[in-house]
Symmetry: C2
């Protein structure tokens, strides 16, 4: 029965590389398009409190909170045959990198606001962004304490896992939405008068929005499709790793 389910799971997973490959194309495209938008149309990059320092913000957030975050949550599907511990560590390291790059991006926008005497945290984009970022840090810390730190019992882990998986995907969706909100703000602050005339910058930004959505949907699909899940590994079962409890719970196992 278990072997049958394992074999069915393997057959279904044959198409996964296509979805993952497509997601990587869109992920790289989103970073490149953000780089071109800020680099070519918005005057390039600096670190001096000017509008060029602001330009570091979108680039870092798309690279960190979208591309790296998306890849970090897909590792349990992409490396579904590797040992659980290695994949856990890769998941945590990619998230730590996401955190580092996002902090640089957030510092950039706060310094730009201070340098230009613009109040902080007044817009819906800022509220959504800060909410996402604070919950992302909480999620990272809880994930570390429950799944990498040796103190948590298997029971505690199995209770927290479905919440960790659910909020991981919710925060990723929130990060994509927050990016789109920031793009609308930037467009209306920069090209309010010409946006409605389908100028190249506006169309590039709209296409970037579509690419971000495409990346988000593909990551969500790879994560939630049932036969892309990690199959049970006999050696992990033998080591009484907490796998059985988790798969029985039907959670999107990290």
């Amino acid at each position: 029965m278990e072997e049958e389910s394992l074999s069915r799971s393997w057959r279904g997973a044959g198409s996964m590389p296509w979805y993952v490959g497509a997601s990587q194309l869109l992920g790289v495209a989103s970073v490149v398009m953000t780089g071109v938008w800020m680099g070519h149309y918005r005057g390039g990059y600096a670190w001096d409190g000017s509008a060029q320092e602001f330009n570091v913000h979108p680039l870092c957030m798309v690279l960190g909170m979208i591309f790296l975050y998306g890849d970090a949550i897909m590792v349990y599907r992409v490396f579904r045959t590797e040992s659980k511990r290695s994949v856990k560590i890769l998941h945590a390291v990619l998230h730590a990198l996401t955190l580092l790059i996002s902090v640089i991006g957030i510092v950039a926008v706060f310094q730009f606001h201070s340098g230009s005497s613009i109040p902080h945290m007044y817009s819906l984009h800022a509220w959504c962004g800060m909410l996402t970022f604070v919950l992302f840090i909480a999620q990272w810390l809880l994930g570390f304490l429950f799944f990498l730190f040796p103190g948590a019992t298997a029971w505690l882990r199995s209770c927290y896992l479905p919440l960790h998986a659910f909020f991981g995907l919710v925060l990723f969706g929130l990060a994509v939405a927050t990016c789109l909100l920031g793009m609308v703000e930037k467009l209306l602050f920069s090209i309010l008068d010409t946006y409605s005339r389908f100028t190249a910058e506006g169309v590039l930004a709209n296409c970037l929005g579509m690419v971000l959505l495409g990346y988000g949907v593909l990551v969500g699909y790879v994560l939630t499709r049932d036969d892309f899940r990690r199959p049970p590994h006999p050696e992990e079962e033998a080591l009484s790793v907490h796998f059985k409890t988790l798969t029985e719970g039907g959670a999107t196992s990290p």
Copy 2:
């Protein structure tokens, strides 16, 4: 074994009314707050191509594509003990109502644009909105053909079901994101100079954004939590309804 799983499912589902109740509070709050924003701060409603006709747009979209859509996709959880056919019909009717109200909202904004000589479909909000709406109609038609129209075989239904459930949730998330984008546009078009001073209208809109996110997350949680799923009904099994295939597939069963 099946009885045990059924009983476990029932125990877990005991907390569902709290989540559904909270979602309804947030859903109603989002409609009321949109109504107050447009009614009190933006000059009320009309149907004459003016800015007051535009105000019909946010109200209809929040009522239709957010509140009713969210409720329509929760019916399989909320009425998990009712007959499948009745719940299917309720699901389809709520979606038809969503479609009707959204069409009114979309006509309102197109008439306002025409009346004010503003080009159509240039903004990221418009692109996301149109994408969501076209896919929503496709999803509704496919859902009707596969699950209500008698022609589709059980095999076809079971193949399409996971995609229908996945895209149903994705489009709901996209609808929430599109609303937030529209709110940012409206804020920057209306109160660009005062938004950063934390004026009442800006704070109300930001709070509305948080309420919409909260509603979206609660609906997503109710839909994806494993023990909130519809338990197997013996009389449906006897009637060889396509339930077994569906639950074995592990899909979020509509």
